[in-house]
């Protein structure tokens, strides 16, 4: 099948307006007859379900947590971008568009990104109207901070809890629709397959995670808003339950998977402390506004950070990238940290960490505060205390979190940080309307591949999730459903429902019947290690080839020796996990194949074979300026290419020097 991205014709800045002006509409009476299934109620799903409910569609929404308020989006810390230019510092829709295409290392579609930048401002308006308490200045107006890869201040935030506040906003809008009866919410339900009838997505099979029973649900369209798959690495900053299952089932039913190997490794996370580690905790990128990253100039230096004098510290980001300094994009910062640690300059007991130091910022803020109250001549201790207050207000919860986990006080000594898996730019391939290659099946938020290319800029995932849910899908879905008004609800006794449910049931029975010796967790850990070692921050052909074999073997071992305790028809978290890990064991192989195919470095994808003399990622536009869209073919895959063309932002070697 030829891939049609359906990017509207015309000038970049007019595409979305023109599209909206000409898109097909569904009248209110018909909307009431059309049923929409929304899988996932994080930012993307909750905003979509609420907005579609408000418009009058009959919506059913599902999540696996006990409440939609607990989706992984809740954990987002630093902020959300929008081209408001409230700071009068030269921001504009064009600049946000430009920064995002460049930040993504020229592997995103211009048309999608431009639309994202266009709707960004309305997201902030909507959230404020819902009562989202963003940070404000003394004059009562909204405050902004900077994030990596940009030179303007366009990030809106609520302390280090921006995701929480945005999600609670979307959640309350969703619960309002539940109360009004337009949305029916199914918590503790997991989608386990898509039902496809005559080539169109017509429903889902879900499992009630409390009773263990399978259910069939019909929909005129199905939206997947199921988040990212970073947990394929076992250790990541994602919530424990984040998984690929919904997207993977869709993939097996015909939806192409776009750029699966594009993974974001976030530079500032709390390092691994031991074998017991179950997840990694992010220290928000916003900290790089004020924290300075360094390692000792001397290899293997064992002195305490505070005993290392200024001239014996290597602020390597400021040294290598003077124009952006500590605010280079994530991929660049992560690789630079790995480079220093690999060379033997790392700190802490494991030597796999670098310092993130707030001392200078605390003193700088302290001086300003002292100046405000006429205490310019205050001693260092007073200045430190004054500055500490300012830093506390900005990042207090993050500093507390760091101290709880490590037992160290980051106001007194620098944080130790190391890169960790954080976000997946890859995901289900979608066209401009967010429709996958299966008609009627859509993907929103982190679950799709569309807007971030090979590297996502900080504070842009929240923006994209809410853009998709509040402002894109309400238009593009209508364009499909307008032709469905004559389709009456299909009975869930239809053979396709029966067969799909049987397939799900068979698989569950198979998992339970293996009764092997090894736990699900142990397989997940082993998969994670293969992925991190061979498909992580640096990749090469030999490693990827061996990873593919190792994963295949591990998958066989899983299906012959996994032990899933408990019963099917009960609350059984081990069974839920087993199904997810089984899917990760397939996805991992595809990620390695994609990484092997892409013999260039771009954004977060670093192929050792393709680097410049000073170790920067080297793209190969002549051969790889395309989206790799993988089609599932029984046991294997076939790759399709969507060529990328750049009308406005001409690809150059990305430089942050």
């Amino acid at each position: 099948m030829a891939l049609d991205s359906k990017i509207p014709h015309g000038e970049m800045k007019d595409k979305w307006e023109d599209y909206k002006g000409h898109v097909k509409l569904v009248n209110p009476a018909n909307k009431r007859k059309l049923e929409v299934i929304v899988i996932g109620t994080g930012l993307a799903g909750a905003s979509a379900a609420a907005s579609l409910g408000e418009m009058g569609y009959k919506v059913k929404a599902f999540c696996f947590q006990d409440s939609p308020r607990r989706a992984h989006s809740i954990a987002a810390q630093g902020g959300i971008n929008a081209a408001k230019n409230y700071q009068n510092d030269g921001d504009s829709v064009f600049r946000l568009f430009y920064d995002t295409v460049k930040g993504g290392d020229y592997r995103a579609r211009e048309g999608n990104v431009h639309r994202l930048a266009e709707v960004s401002a309305a997201i902030i308006d909507q959230c404020v109207a819902q009562g989202v308490p963003f940070a404000r200045e003394y004059g009562g107006l909204l405050s902004n901070r900077s994030f990596g890869g940009t030179q303007v201040q366009r990030t809106f935030y609520a302390a280090g809890q921006t995701g929480q506040q945005l999600l609670l906003g979307a959640y309350s809008a969703l619960e309002r629709q539940v109360a009004l009866g337009t949305v029916k919410m199914y918590s503790r339900h997991e989608m386990l397959d898509v039902v496809v009838i005559d080539g169109k997505a017509r429903g889902v099979i879900v499992r009630d995670l409390v009773s263990g029973k399978l259910e069939r649900h019909f929909g005129h369209a199905v939206l997947l808003c199921s988040g990212g798959y970073g947990n394929v690495f076992y250790l990541s900053t994602n919530a424990m339950g984040s998984n690929v299952t919904a997207a993977w089932k869709a993939h097996k039913r015909g939806a192409y998977f776009g750029n699966p190997c594009f993974t974001q490794i976030h530079p500032t996370c709390i390092p691994v402390s031991g074998d017991h580690q179950s997840k990694l905790t992010l220290m928000s990128e916003s900290l790089r506004n004020d924290g300075r990253i360094w390692v000792p100039k001397q290899k293997g230096d064992t002195r305490k950070a505070s005993d290392i004098p200024e001239n014996e510290r290597d602020y390597y980001l400021e040294r290598r990238y003077p124009a952006f300094g500590n605010l280079v994009p994530r991929d660049v910062a992560s690789r630079a940290a790995k480079e220093r640690c690999d060379e033997g300059y790392g700190v802490g007991t494991t030597k796999m960490a670098v310092y993130l130091d707030f001392k200078d910022a605390i003193m700088r803020y302290g001086k300003t505060e002292a100046g405000k109250t006429g205490h310019e001549s205050a001693d260092d201790k007073t200045i430190f205390e004054l500055g500490k207050k300012v830093v506390e207000e900005k990042y207090g919860n993050l500093f507390e979190m760091y101290e709880k986990i490590t037992g160290e006080n980051p106001y007194e000594m620098p944080m130790r940080i190391y890169p960790a898996v954080h976000y997946t730019m890859g995901g289900l391939w979608v066209d401009y309307e967010l429709q996958t290659t299966v008609p009627g099946l859509y993907a929103l938020g982190e679950a799709n591949f569309s807007d971030h290319g090979a590297n996502r800029l900080g504070a842009s995932a929240l923006m994209q999730g809410l853009a998709d849910g509040y402002f894109v899908i309400p238009y593009t879905l209508g364009n499909y459903l307008a032709d469905e008004i004559r389709t009456t609800a299909i009975s869930t006794d239809h053979p396709a429902f029966v067969e799909t449910e049987k397939a799900v049931n068979d698989r569950i029975n198979k998992l339970m019947s293996i009764k092997g010796k090894q736990s699900v967790e142990s397989f997940h850990k082993r998969l994670g290690k293969i992925m991190w070692d061979k498909c992580g921050m640096a990749r090469n052909a030999k490693g990827l080839q061996s990873a593919i074999n190792e994963i295949r073997n591990l998958r066989n071992e899983f299906w012959s020796d996994v032990r899933v305790p408990g019963d099917i028809n009960e609350f059984n978290p081990e069974l839920d996990k087993a199904g997810r890990v089984a899917d990760f064991l397939e996805l991992g192989e595809l990620m390695c194949m994609d990484a092997l195919n892409r013999n260039e470095s771009c954004g977060g994808h670093f192929r050792e074979e393709s680097q410049t003399e000073d170790g920067e990622a080297k793209r190969d536009d002549a051969n790889f300026s395309y989206v790799a869209a993988w089609e599932s073919k029984g046991e294997g895959w076939e790759m399709h290419k969507e060529p990328l063309t750049f009308e406005i932002v001409k690809p150059t070697q990305r430089s942050y020097k």
Partner: protein
Amino acid sequence: MEHYHMNLTLKIWRQKNSNAKGNFETYKVSNISSEMSFLELFDVLNEQLIAEGKEPIAFDHDCREGICGACSMYINGEAHGPWSKNTTCQLHMRAFKDGDTIVVEPWRSQAFPVLKDLVVDRSAFDRIIQAGGYISVNTGNAVDANAIPIDKKDADDAFMAAACIGCGACVATCPNGSAMLFVGAKISQLALLPQGEPERETRALNMIAQMDKEGFGNCTNVYACEAECPKGISVANIARMNREYLSAGLNADTK
């Protein structure tokens, strides 16, 4: 920070499902690192149980960084355990020492029935939000975000109230099983913001009516909720809710 290892005795509530009668079971774990989180202790125990062919312990968790509100264990008689302003997932094993016995139970409250082991049903909270914990603004209806300046102090206070993670520790810890802190936090957040003004009275009346309907108890000013709340939600929010409720009630009478 010194790292150390410890052997522990765990007494944990086991309950097959909501109809079953539960009981405490005793387990031994050894060589637990002080660096582990409390839930990683449960991971270790569960792996041990699976290896022994027994059923692992069910517990709610997701983010493991103190923000989703899923984790919910009553540890040695305290909701979320011994550290103040802390969730179960952020409790670390350096809070304990070698040889300790740790007792772990689910939230206990009439409004939160146990589903299995340490997992309870907190959907009553969602229904309280459905009753009015929102501002009725359809997508696309908003004015420019800076059109209405908001006093920084009000914005900050609204944010502090909005920091509630909906974990239910306040209910579990209250001798009356009251949900006043949770409900007060949401009512306060929206009452402090100009955007919340139009629905201010109906919101307070409806949310409180739903809270009563769900079977949460009354507040008798014990303030255990504030002490155990992982997010430091202040009881001042309960006072504000009561004022909102009173004035809404009065206005409803005179209308």
